[in-house]
Symmetry: D2
Subunit: 466 residues, 4 copies
């Protein structure tokens, strides 16, 4: 998610901004710009580099203000009509909106809005915000925006493009990240600092939980229209979602991951000849592990550059041709060795089992698996794609049992307090945890209206609309 006001190349800059954020969503992407009179939108299925970067696209995005988005559908099907930015002509003017996160009462709000005459064009949770704005009672665009936000529950970082500038907002507990920057005097907002780096902008500060900003040619105005709450940013940004070169909530993602690895080596030491990451997300933790363990770090598994998009297996045959398309063993670093494999997390466990097999087939003498996060036992409802609880291997099995299933010589997970230590906290404060860590603890930071809002709900993952 990206927004900028005050540059003649706003559209082109927004394209580059979302290119830096491609890892946050690979299904689709889009930009909206405003040229003082008209809105222009470009929305495409596929990667930024394959679509928005085609010749001519940037030129069509006229104007000095633009917002952009890369889509990752945890709510609503992956179709062009669900791609952000969504646009609407309201009575008070046009507005384009892009959203990162998940509204946990969108289904309930949609039913109410439809009963009042709203016609939805998409199946995304985001569109409820547009209809809340359209039916709001207050007069100005910014007041309608705040009125709409006050009805929301869940996680959101939002940018909205209007004739009066770019509106930006972060939910009251700050689950998803949002940062403010500046490019030669023009204010910029985006999900991660790596996007500021790419467009050459300076980092100014994090947008605060519950804060609403108006970015315009005159600069940045801030409001805090909601009752303050203790922040609880999502811990998964550090575990694997954010890019390692980003600074999220004041912490270097790379550094936190390396510290996950250092602590992991303390918590689960083992004699080893080589420390091998599952690339790419396991690399910083493996480096940290190797540092503490005083053992050699080697790229014992090679990741293909050419995977990263979903494709259909060309044959339905029983032969598993694809297993090694993404990862291959680097035999020279594995054969005959005691190997510590370091990965960022275990979700279903299926990929982990395949990688262990790969390492065994390459002749490893021992395989010790180390996981740079605690066991994932509960689903997420805030924008991280995760399976139903029943498919989470750690929700059903003890670490000992998992070790057996993965056929490893030993298995170690990072402890919850170890995770907090790496994040710069002494420990998890039970009454006021500093992060949204529900996947490990089952304690959700917001109500979950659409999901029944109780213990039973955690077992189900509803898709938004059938």
């Amino acid at each position: 998610m990206f927004g900028i006001v005050g540059d003649d190349l706003a559209g082109a800059i927004a394209i580059h901004g979302v290119h830096a954020l491609q890892h946050r969503g690979q299904e689709g992407c889009g930009i909206a710009s405003f040229d003082g009179k008209r809105f222009h939108t470009e929305r495409h299925m596929g990667l930024v580099g394959d679509t928005l970067m085609r010749p001519g696209v940037a030129d069509r995005l006229k104007g000095r203000a633009a917002i952009g988005h890369t889509r990752y559908s945890t709510q609503g099907e992956p179709t062009i009509r669900n791609n952000h930015p969504l646009y609407a002509d309201l009575g008070v003017g046009g507005v384009a909106i892009a959203h990162n996160g998940n509204i946990t009462n969108a289904r309930a709000l949609r039913a109410l809005l439809t009963a009042r005459g709203a016609i939805f064009q998409s199946t995304t949770d985001t569109e409820v915000i547009l209809h809340l704005m359209a039916q709001a009672v207050r007069a100005t665009m910014i007041d309608r925006f705040i009125e709409a936000l006050s009805a929301l529950e869940g996680a959101y970082a939002l940018v909205a493009l209007t004739a009066g500038g770019v509106l930006a907002a972060r939910d009251p507990v700050g689950i998803r990240p949002l940062v403010l920057g500046e490019l030669e005097g023009a204010p910029v907002v985006c999900s991660e600092t790596c996007a500021l780096d790419l467009v050459g902008a300076k980092f100014v500060r994090d947008v605060l939980p519950g804060e609403v900003l108006v970015l315009s040619e005159r600069g940045v105005e801030s409001q805090k229209p909601f009752a303050p709450k203790p922040p609880r940013p999502c811990v998964f940004e550090y575990i694997y979602f954010a890019r390692p070169d980003s600074i999220v909530n004041g912490r270097s993602v790379y550094d936190v991951r390396r510290r996950f690895g250092q602590r992991l080596a303390e918590e689960h030491p083992v004699p080893a000849d080589v420390i091998v990451p599952v690339p790419d997300s396991g690399v910083p933790a493996a480096i940290g592990y190797a540092e503490t363990a005083q053992a050699p770090f080697q790229m014992g598994i090679i990741r293909s550059h050419y995977v990263g998009r979903t494709f259909i297996e060309p044959t339905a045959s029983g032969r598993k041709l694809s297993v090694r398309r993404k990862h291959n063993a680097n035999r020279s670093q594995l054969a005959g060795k005691r190997v510590v494999l370091v990965d960022d997390s275990i979700v279903r466990g299926t990929t982990s089992a395949q990688i262990v097999q790969l390492v065994r087939d390459a002749g490893a003498a021992e395989v010790h698996f180390r996981v740079a996060s605690p066991p994932i036992q509960w689903p997420d409802f805030y924008g991280i794609d995760m399976p139903n609880r029943e498919d989470l291997i750690a929700a059903k099995h003890s670490p000992k049992k998992i070790a057996k299933k993965l056929e490893v010589d030993s298995l170690g997970f990072l402890s919850i307090d170890g995770m907090y230590w790496a994040l710069g906290e002494n420990e998890r404060k039970t009454d006021a945890p500093a992060f949204a860590d529900h996947c490990f603890t089952g304690e959700y930071p917001t109500t979950l209206t659409d999901f029944g809002n109780d213990e039973a709900a955690k077992d189900v993952q509803l898709s938004f609309l059938e």
Copy 2:
């Protein structure tokens, strides 16, 4: 380049095989199969994962024999009609051919063949092989194939699909690699062992320089129809072309690169706080450097997963929006530190200068550049894409001058003997060098008919056809 005979899924296996070899050519790709009666071809511009892996493609490639190719055009324009495999109906039957390398007398042969009535359909050097076969005097397909090869000069690894099986050949000095494998009894040939790994095949042996193989349902037959010569495989496969998980000419590519780094640390030591690779190709050398230098290895530069395809800059503006699209500084590992940057090679020097700037902007105290290969001073004519001599920074400037241009605190190149050491030789034998190392020495392993074949020729890089 990939070939297999004797599996009902030959087409699908070949698709997976070329997927593993995607790094050898990203412009286009293609497969040809033979079902006992008819040839089937699929040729596409773009990546394997975007084209050949679409639903239905594998099913159309019927038969138990198939060859495949990924194209990287150093000769002939990047158009669909130049994509391999090229197919021709000869009087003796159909033949599809795929070629890795470069024929250095193709232009001369083409003129001769055209004068004898040949009509070319492509602008590739490879098509001369088909016309040589068509106009050959000998009777059988295999004899015509060998007759055609005997007219060639330059570098080639070839696979050809015929009704009688897959023919494979490697040029007399073995410039480009080619390996033989086996998949559940079916013989396989391919450019690198990583493709054997992906399809689950076992490595059997390297195809020897000057060897011609016939792969069929009956197994593998070998011929050595040409006068033996001392092998001189291309050293660039080790420097950056091959995948690190491949075993090329009996040597682990990863291991050789790590040894490049170890030796580099010995040749050009410097006090440093952190050893940082230019990812991805600089990683093994940086690990080796850090091992010898006893300094911490960190991923101080982050590479985007979403670059790797060429795209057009969306705006012609003077602002350099794109510089950081591929690489970004990981500020937390650079600020205030004495940094050793390790890259695989320097060609033009432009990217290197940008990366140094990136590291400086992130606050590095000192930047020391280390190059895991000797200075490149001469162009390649055997299939490695390289600019004219005048654009090779090391052809015009001394290391000292280059250091100044890159604005680094120090610069060190690996020595030629150091390179040979890492490859397991004691040193370069002047009268019989073990590798094709012309880019560093100006000594070419074959004649260069199309390029004038003398000193002056090295200054020009001709494009094949205007």
Copy 3:
């Protein structure tokens, strides 16, 4: 426009139905079907034969009820999002709607609906009907449909697909045509009888002006919810819009056109060697003219089959390469002859001038132009694409002046009473004209809220949304 309920092939039949109605709109086309549970839509830019008739489309349109449309944009830009059928999920269920005609207070209604919180997805006048239904106070779908219609002004023939069946309606004065048919027991509605012929359905009767029908598995129910008005169907359907093989409002279109020609021969006789139509729309009138004039009818102008789609002139050169792409002179029937050219109408006069030139170039001795309709002096606002008043040649020039501009030896227009005679009326009744004939008389059959509703308004042709 086409609708059917009660056939397992409803989708495929609707595709064929709209194929027969292609002449009513060439920009885009679409079908919606309902399978008892879900709605399915297929909307495409381009011709039915190029889009909806592709393999697989009909199969995706599951269900026993379907509606279809071919689009011709006199309101709203030609984009996919403006293509009909438009679909909305209302609180009371889903509805897809297709509209032929033009709502003349759509702009005013849109402003009102937006102020009440509606978000429009298209720029068509038709979408106001969906929002009127969404915000209606009555409970059932059919009641909401009628409530919405009661707010409309202008011309409409409508079909709407709902879970309860297909709703159909014709505006109170019946400007656009709509007929009811039956296909093996299944009720069908469509714009013209030629669509009934193509799908093999029987004609039942015209839908009456102001009538609302519900087509369902149980048959057809009729309502007349609006105050009755004297019908005034559009006379342009007869002049050139409808297909000659259709029966519109009980009259054969071919027969009316032939009678236009017969009367024209009486009103404007001239000695001639040959009567030549401007094909194809001028053919029946020319046949009628030749019958009355007792002169030979010949195809003296040949029309290319391959024109009929708009394309861009391949070169901006001053040379008029394109003039004869659509029509060419058949020299053998023109050279040395006294030619009577018969066309259906004159709008701007530019095409007419080119055709006269064509005939002169072919060596005609005399050229007499006969027009099978009165002079067009006022714009249309009901769905016939026509230029601003200032571009209508007959709004600015007398027939004598037009003759001079066209460089013809004589020119004759059909009189208004002649036109009524051909339609089976004795004459035009000034106080209660039987047809919407505003283009000739300036008397509009409805109010024109969006266009200022007075004399001045006739001079402007507003586009709906900027």
Copy 4:
């Protein structure tokens, strides 16, 4: 087929030229131009108006010389690689070639050429001409062209683009038409005069059978390198292939067709209320019939403008939804009447039967079928698409039997002498027929090497390549 030399807009003019010749081939189209240095080609599947007329295409066709073609595959599959113009780089320079007609010894020549080392890129008969030129012994391009022609058998009108100008040739008996024109001093060749009309060129004369022309900036040079033979142009150009506004071999196509109808009325008179053509090709004959029969001519069948391209039936259902997509009855002119239906020819009889049924369903009292050509009893091998002999209804059944199958009240074919009369001959001269009329007589004007060249061969229609 079209060619022009000496106009800066040669490419754009050629596009318009082939647009006028679209009826001669709808599968694909192409243009080649030469700008003094380079050849440019544009080849597309589909219609000229959908492909070559897209913006930018004409601009890419640089140069003052161009040739064009519309493809209709009676030999070789409909694929882009078979589209004309075919291009080849010969030793003596580049040549692009376009061909109308059919080489009847192409298969034999291809075998000979392949044995001599030729590699074919297409499956068209035309490519043999390029290989004959490539392997020719004479030195210049024009001499090689003539040397190639001397090996051909069958029907050809050819244009070839070379650096030295446009070469044009017509086979020794002139089966396919070819005319010479002039556009503001620039020489033009094309298949029919209608293409001259469209581009604004003057007709100069027919290219003579056996004549070879060189069109260049200096004008037109003519050679007659072959032994003279009595001309026998194809009679099917008059029956239905050529456009009615063309003058073919000095005769107006429209006039000949009208005379076919006049003679038909004399040969097969019947009392009738209305004379109705099967549009569009039956129109001139029906007008002629009506003139002689003194009966009213009416468009009793309406043809849709939107058919003319092949499409796939959207549903496999048994219901014949498509029958009336192309033709519909105009009930008002048929009901209760004695109808004479006039069509240009009967091939298989299936369409005729459907049309008769259509007319009967519309209430015709009597249906009399009149065919403006003799019974087709033998296949064509010269470029007219026709089924195997066994599918020709008149090859198996007498007119009386055909009448029964079509369920008509009477049936009449034009006599062979009647056909010759309409063409301006007194009768068919048995020893020296003035036209290629083999489909009616079984007497072929050339040898048919590929087809066995004897009586038996007439029963088979070989496809060129499997």
